[in-house]
Amino acid sequence: MAKHLLEVKDLRTSFFTPEGEVKSVDGVSYYVEEGEAIAIVGESGCGKSVTQMSVMQLVQCPPGKILSGEVLFDGQNLLEYKSDSKEMRSIRGSGISMIFQEPMTSLNPVLTVGAQLCDIIITHNPGMKKDEAWAKGVQALKDVGIPEAEARMKNYPFEMSGGMRQRVMIAAAIVCGSKLIIADEPTTALDVTTQAQVMDLLLELVEKHGKSLVIITHNLGLVTRYASRVYVMYAGRIVESGTTEQILTNPQHPYTKGLLNSVPKLESNKDEDLVPIQGMPPILSNLPKYCAFLPRCPYATDKCRESDKPMLKDTGNTHFSACYLTEGQNG
């Protein structure tokens, strides 16, 4: 078994708003192996982004607060460091890097791409000369397949296309040797052809350079091609996890089944109707004691209504599901 590069254990993050506590991340555990790409899937607002922001300790405090848990990166618990400590800052960008959803707004509009890359390089290599940093930036742009990298360094972000900007973000993510890249909806804002190019580039980093990748997405289509394992999140908790094949071919949790039924499949019968999940995502500030998916669940039983939230249980071959229906299926 490969080494766990990142292991998150029972992470809890809440936001304290005037309406009450919002448990955005409610006991989430997952791991990423070296050289592996995993996906965390869920609707918007299910806490998948906040989980990653908590790993990086970038949750705005107040109103957000990481309440408990462990984030083991390369064997050290990141939550032992303060959010603005030197140790944490050196992890960000040169240990774990993040790529964000909106390439339009994720880069500073009044600084050139080169200036921003150099800022990052010099932050993690104190004392490096400006021209060395510049050369390193140019190389990073070349690595992510940006033509005329020298000239591009002098461009402002608004002079580039969305796909190009996302490539710049990826260049920034690898330029200081991060082992883990967290990509938060990296392709949502891009058009379809660019989406594939950006995803292929990310996958290349995993396969050729041994990076690890966490893809956060609501798009199951991305998962099938790029991730080896999948975590499905609902209302701040992981409700199902397993290999991509397990999740796609043999979904256990009713929510996962619902997600799969609501996306078109190439091989499926054309007459088959798409079935959307009924109801609305829950309001996180006012969660019931019982299973959060229950109000939308077509299979709910009395047991579900009377019990606490179900815990993740192995249904066989490290395929986990948090549902009373799937519990005890394999003894």
């Binding site: 960008g93 707004t105 500073n108 600084l111 932050t123």
Partner: protein
């Protein structure tokens, strides 16, 4: 870039022409006949007609305007005071430097302190210092200048005897005397600018800090210091430049009030006296000078924008 500047300059010139025309027409609406004001109530109808003819007051309004504006442009001649036949150009010439000696330090002081207060508030957002500063800013925004001036006089001059009650000495005559007399007027003039800039800078900084690219900078390990000074400050200050440009208006409005409270022989006092005495040429000249200065400041701001904001700079190519 040149095209952009030329366009802005032409717009500004057009605006100045419109302002001069507007001011001139506005003056025609002022009640009272200049001739009667000049000659006094006892003057005979014949003398008045004679006066009107000799000053061209019977000509059509646009002809009068043309004469006025061409005299200004080609001879630098703003006409003569109706009341005492004094040359308005030389009058402005003696008065304007006094106003500038109060207004310019006020503007500089106000901008610097305002930016500083705004940045401190934003960096310490939510802390006690921020809360105290915010209360002070709101208080000063709600205090008319004449009250700031008078309250200061009550405390600083009458009770603590730190500053003279009123009066003015030009800095080039006696600098020490200027400093002691101009101190409070300059501060009063600056306070409003400080409050406006502090509020704007603070809210811009907070807005920028919540932007995605600041989150990116944090996610790549940049220190909070670097984020504030390299990322937030530059982006937050670009819109503040506009506000700085608008402060010219505040300084002028301040000049009218402050020069009257402290009895400073500047252009604001000249304007107020002109209005009270219906001295057309003086009012016209003052309004024109003041407006041109305002337009000039806004023009400078527009051009500065072009240099500072890469989005504007590149789009102008």
């Amino acid at each position: 870039m040149t095209g952009y500047i030329v366009k802005k300059v032409l717009t500004a010139i057009g605006l100045v022409i419109l302002i001069s025309l507007f001011t001139f027409l506005l003056m025609q609406l002022l009640p009272g006949d200049p001739a009667r004001i000049a000659l006094g109530d006892g003057a005979s109808e014949e003398r008045i007609q004679e006066y009107r003819d000799s000053y061209g007051l019977n000509d059509p309004v646009l002809v009068q305007y043309w004469r006025w504006i061409t005299n200004i442009i080609f001879h630098g001649d703003f006409g003569k005071s109706v009341l005492n036949s004094r040359d308005v150009t030389s009058y402005i010439h003696t008065r304007l430097p006094n106003s500038i000696s109060i207004g310019l330090p006020g503007l500089i002081f106000g901008v610097l302190v305002g930016l500083f207060v705004g940045i401190v508030s934003a960096v310490k957002r939510g802390g006690w210092l921020d809360q105290v500063l915010t209360v002070l800013v709101n208080l000063f925004l709600a205090t008319p200048r004449f009250l700031t001036a008078i309250f200061g006089v009550i405390i600083l001059a009458l009770n603590l005897h730190l500053i003279p009650l009123q009066g003015y000495t030009a800095p080039w005559d006696d600098f020490g005397d200027y400093v002691s007399k101009a101190f409070w007027p300059v501060v009063v003039n600056a306070i409003y600018t400080v409050a406006i800039l502090a509020r704007q800078t603070r809210s811009n900084m907070l807005e920028v800090i919540s932007q995605d690219y600041v989150r990116t900078a944090r996610a790549y390990g940049l220190s909070e210091r670097k984020i504030i000074f390299r990322y937030a400050l530059k982006n937050a200050l670009i819109p503040v430049i506009t506000i700085i440009g608008l402060q010219m208006q505040n300084i002028v409005a301040g000049a009218v009030i402050i020069e009257n409270v402290f009895n400073i022989p500047g252009i604001g006092q000249m304007l107020l006296n002109g209005i009270m005495q219906r001295d057309y040429f003086i009012v016209q000249a003052c309004v024109l000078v003041i407006s041109v200065m305002t337009v000039f400041c806004n023009l400078m701001v527009d051009i500065a924008y072009g240099f500072i904001d890469p989005r504007v700079r590149r789009s102008m190519r």
